[in-house]
Symmetry: C2
Subunit: 308 residues, 2 copies
């Protein structure tokens, strides 16, 4: 029996980079990427799945090299015109990017599931590893802030993560059914490891773990669970992870990330700059976690696989 | 009392050109353009109103100078990407044009009426004359063809007017309420004339006249009703008018256009090349009706106003 199957939990860009690395150092058919859907929302009548799209674009080599979302070869004529017509312009929708939202929304209304649609888009874009939304049921992250509860995109994009955060809710998670193919993979005797990618624990990973049967399946799975810390030297590479931790009264450190996941993980991969932190009851692997180049992504993927 | 109000019935590009001419030779606030909605349809989950958009773009000076639909300054990145994702690509949606469909659909779902939305778009695009959809209720043209009944856009765009047409249906027209502001204008003592623009009688004007109270109001109105023939020398400037007439067993002539409108009109404006046709019981005004330039549009508008 080859234990060659990797299940990787990913949010947006940070997770997508490691997912790309894993799918390049392994046969891509052995990599199953589980995508957060807590950021999904309806905007201008379109169903937008930001993390799935970042994964699709990153794995298809279409991702924007700097901004961390959207496509490299993008134009903005729709947005300019929408603004002239008085439309809501706080969420940027590129001309090419629009196609994925319109076609996905259309297929959802026709009764296709988010996972079916994602699989078809992946095939058409030439993405080899499987990308599966953690659930085909809606899970929606909300943030409790000093200004009251905010939907995820209102906080993240519209208010640019400015409000001070006190807590989180993952609406629908308690009732959501985890993706059957993901559940099967977690029970598969070929499972070699579960990798929690360096995504925001509160906004990218916890919305998935809030689905009871999914969390339970990870807790029960026989393969090791390896998390890669999204914190390097007290800061997140991208996004509000460190700011959030600070607001929650936590030290923004890889150690605190380890404590957050607790018993769920067996290994935490941290950057050398964080090596001086206090030891936890978790095995630590120290390796560079900043992924600037494709070689960095592959190198970190190899570190993760060696840690198994 | 100034009799200075003109009500102009228009389909797409042919009608829009004369509507533009009228709104340039008259104070634009005296021109009320009534737009066909029989071409409207839902595509990829978006409500598309082709004739309203052609009017908006033409009157805002944004129209494509040759193709007769869409915008001059258009790009096609959405379409390219949609095709790559396996989406339906038979109806061309430009990147800028998409904004009007998405924003309109969004506002319709929020409960705004088509006429409110059109008025706001017109204001934002700097269009001075009023453009009103003939009804805020759905009217949908279907064509009876040798291949069975086809929705308008299936016939017009997808099958490029190839099927042989035997008849028409205007679904919803019998139940539709005509636009109250249009009805008021037709009863307004300031009404100087009703102009039936050189649009396709079967596909652009009849879907409006199929609304009983609207047809009745035109038949009863005290001002003259002046139609401009869309046929010049046995051919339509744009679109399938002549082909349709031929398939319906009619001579594709301005005379046949006059017979089609019959008692509803008082004057028919025809091109000099059609002057040799048989006289009808309708007053004929002979003037060049081909509108290639802005000057042509203004000149034809003046001809129409003189014919009053």
């Amino acid at each position: 029996m080859n234990r060659d199957l990797i299940v990787a939990l990913s949010g947006g860009i940070g997770g997508a980079k490691l997912a790309l690395g894993l799918s390049r150092v392994l046969p891509p058919e052995n990599v199953l990427i589980v995508a957060n859907v807590g950021d999904d929302f309806e905007h201008l009548g379109l169903h937008v799945s930001p993390d799935i799209d970042t994964l699709l674009y990153t794995l298809a080599g279409l991702d924007h090299p700097v901004q961390g979302w959207g496509r490299a070869d993008e134009t903005w004529h729709f947005m300019e015109t929408l603004r002239a017509l008085g439309g809501a312009d706080w969420f940027a929708l590129g001309d090419r990017d629009l196609a994925i939202h319109i076609e996905r929304t259309h297929r959802l209304r026709q009764g296709h599931s988010l996972s079916q649609i994602t699989a078809d888009f992946a095939r058409r874009l030439g993405v080899a590893p499987r990308i599966l939304p953690v659930s085909d049921d809606p899970v929606r992250t909300r943030l409790q802030t000093a200004e009251g509860w905010l939907p995820f995109q209102e906080y993240f994009v519209h208010q640019r993560c400015a409000p001070v955060v006190q807590g989180f809710a993952y609406d629908g998670a308690a009732q959501a059914r985890a993706q059957p193919a993901v559940m099967a993979a977690l029970r598969d005797p070929r499972l070699r490891a579960v990798v929690i990618c360096p995504s925001n624990p509160y906004l990218s990973i916890d919305p998935m773990l809030a689905i009871p049967e999914f969390r339970e399946a990870i807790a029960q799975c026989k393969a090791p669970v390896i998390a890669v810390s999204p914190i390097i030297g007290g800061r997140a590479v991208k996004g509000p992870t460190a700011k959030l931790m600070d607001e929650l009264g936590l030290d923004p450190s890889s150690q605190a990330i380890g404590q957050h996941y607790g018993d769920l993980i067996d290994v935490l991969v941290i950057d050398p700059v964080d090596e001086t932190g206090t030891a936890l009851g978790i095995q630590m692997v120290v390796a560079p976690t900043l992924m600037k180049t494709l070689a960095d992504r592959e190198a970190l993927a190899r570190v993760v696989l060696r840690a198994v």
